[in-house]
Symmetry: C3
Subunit: 322 residues, 3 copies
């Protein structure tokens, strides 16, 4: 009783169909990641690659309302046996307001500053990104649960942007289930292209009751070619993956980047402090330094970092956009 | 011993390659569906979305014969954990005749009238589409059986179109298997853009022996902006899903639609009568009313229906094409 | 802690982004394959189709270095229940040298002559391609092992091309594992568009220690419209699939093709001799003849062959490119 696309409104031909468009964009990156470990059966140095192709479809009505949808194809070396599709996202946009439905981003996860301690072409930050707490993210691959359903709203006015998201782990089950809806709110402000502020709050992160996460960050362009920032994440309520009972804790990170006079070489670094007491932790401080060189349409990058287990990790590679 | 694409006929360079083309089209739809139920663990109101991207490739030879292929990516909320690919379909077209091979449509399923009782942006009809019998359809996702193989032929001449399909549930097995080949034949006639006739017969629907289904429908444009139709489906040989021994029965549906003077608002309704006696059935009559509003490239729609179990369902949403 | 695409180098806007491009190409083929067999439960004649869509993305930097990535969607009748994605491949190209990473081709598998005994639109050769030994190939579908990792290098200078590949069955495991890295080297030379030479050596084919394969082939255009070739494959170290202990052996194949005066019809044939002694083998000689007719953008083809089990196989079909 299924059926193909049918035109059920054949009489409704009067209104003109506005410009519809499908676009494929994405990036590829490849290189080497070294991660110190004590397991002789695990290679410390591996080639890691990603190829992402995002299929964006959209159409605009006569009244200027835009409708769109997104599906992504992505392959990650060491993670996917083949390129994976992900669940779709649909959106409607008008007058600065965008409403998203389906596989939406967590609002906090969309902060323009939260991941700015990340280094190199692999965008890794063992000091902050790895201890930012548990929350739902835009899914790269299949959902764990077909009933997962998200809604988001993004509104921009001038220098201010507000983003709200609600992700229900299973909309088919009634509200007495063990999982909760995750709510997240993000506010951002930019002043004169110099100062960036970003603050976010996530409630019931990843559908876990009382897993509330708070983030605030600020960055200032001290020179035309240099920025310095400070991020704070409170993930006291989030637990480390397999270690029930030990909180991830709070993290503060100081970071910055500097572009050399060639206008192509960017040096970036961070130092982070985490007050958690989870299994394997050896120190409260993690730090890293990285460099990126712009090739125009592609970039070379490298980084070296030390994590909270006092293990060193380094990477070098290339990334291109299309 | 596999290999990449190889040019095995390098000497054959004389003939010019005609215009080849790849096109991505599809639609997105999202909104809310309410379905009354008596199970306290199941939410009655859910957000339901679909995102469909159809990849069509084709090429035309110097002599005007067209060759093409289709693969689809589709994500359905509550049904797929990620966007799914489906089995491919190949086709060859010349002089009004199209031959299809692979994941083909059942001919009856392609009727231009069979699904015209469907309402709103979700194209649902609990009165007719849900009791149209069991037959193979163009597959949205993976086949149950890699050996499934279909062939179709479509011929149009003036106001008449004929469509034949044969779908073998498993072409690798010999003919003594428990499943049978499904055959379907559809004939359609249009007169003066006023009268539409459609009749179809399916034998061994869904590969089940003696599951024969007959459909006939007619629709007439009584005014420039109003149509009225009558559909009849005989699914006496089809059984309700888990209820062995109880036939789906015969269904008659009266339906129509009316476009308001704005040329944008279309109102549609149906009333259907089913004579089956399957588990859960409370009444012989189902009915529904819906409305669609054309935004130009997108449409808003809503419907309310009552099914044969006397349960009410309603939906409201938006659908856009690209 | 995952995240969407972030611009981590917002200060690096000086360099212009060069032309980025995404292209979808591929082919479809369909027809009938007959394969004689003695199992009454298996149909000897089946409809076999393939639809391949290759998504290629690339970008070129200001300095003329090209970066690209490839993902493929492919559906094979009787093999895939739906179109499959495969693992990605990334590449960097400059000055005639291309370096590939990810799902790379085995160098020998990329020989321009190894598969030139293949006939018809299905590119089948029971006499040579089926006894060319075991080695990794560019994967059509998911990897068996997420840790599989390949690197390739291709260099062309004038009439000479060299191709090297290394495929590690599992880069995450240490080197004492039971599987080995596969290495392959291919060299090719073309003289005056008349003579083609191709030689290749694969070590530890398919990751199996001491499974070394050697290939050499030559083809000469005796006339403007006729070519004759000789291929030799030594797969003494490769075993037949389920028959542990019996080597595939060595194979010599003589082959040629001739284009008729219409410039559209190409006739091709081969005769092959294999000295192996594996289960089911009845004769040392296999042979086949085929024909292709160019439609311009598509071709019709047919072939008939006899394999080493003295079974006859034949095919007829159509193939189009896009």
């Amino acid at each position: 009783m299924k059926k193909a696309l049918l035109a059920t409104t054949a009489l409704m031909l009067s209104a003109g169909v506005a410009a519809a468009d499908v676009n494929i964009s994405g990036y590829g990156r490849t290189g080497i990641i070294y991660y110190e470990n004590n397991d002789p059966a695990v290679e410390e140095t591996q080639v890691i690659s990603r190829l992402r192709m995002t299929l964006d479809a959209s159409t605009e009505t006569d009244a200027g309302v835009e409708f769109g949808g997104r599906i992504r194809l992505q392959w990650d070396q060491n993670q996917d046996t083949a390129a994976e599709t992900n669940p779709g996202k649909l959106w409607i946009s008008a007058q600065g307001l965008t409403v998203e439905i389906g596989n939406v981003e967590n609002a906090m996860d969309s902060s323009s500053l939260l991941y700015e301690t990340e280094l190199g072409v692999f965008d890794r930050s063992v000091g902050l990104s790895d201890v930012a707490g548990s929350f739902f993210a835009y899914e790269d691959g299949p959902y764990d649960n077909v009933g997962r359903q998200g809604v988001g709203a993004i509104y921009s006015f001038g220098d201010v942007a507000v983003h709200f998201s609600m992700i229900d782990p299973d909309q088919t089950a009634d509200s007495t289930a063990t999982t909760e809806r995750e709510y997240s709110l993000l506010g951002e402000y930019t002043w004169n292209d110099r100062l960036e502020l970003s603050a976010a709050y996530t409630q019931n992160g990843a559908g876990l009751e009382d897993n509330d996460i708070f983030f605030i960050g600020a960055r200032y362009a001290v020179l035309d070619n240099a920025r310095i920032g400070l991020n704070y994440v409170n993930a006291d309520d989030s637990l480390f993956d397999e270690e029930v009972g030990s909180s991830i804790g709070q993290t503060v990170a100081l970071y910055g980047d500097y572009t050399l006079a060639d206008g192509l070489t960017n040096i970036e670094a961070y130092v982070a402090n985490n007050d958690g007491d989870w299994l394997g932790k050896e120190t409260d401080n993690a730090f890293g330094i990285g460099v990126n060189y712009d090739l125009g349409g592609a970039r070379l990058g490298a980084s070296i970092q030390r994590d909270y287990e006092e293990l060193v990790t380094a990477d070098a590679g290339v990334r291109f956009e299309f």
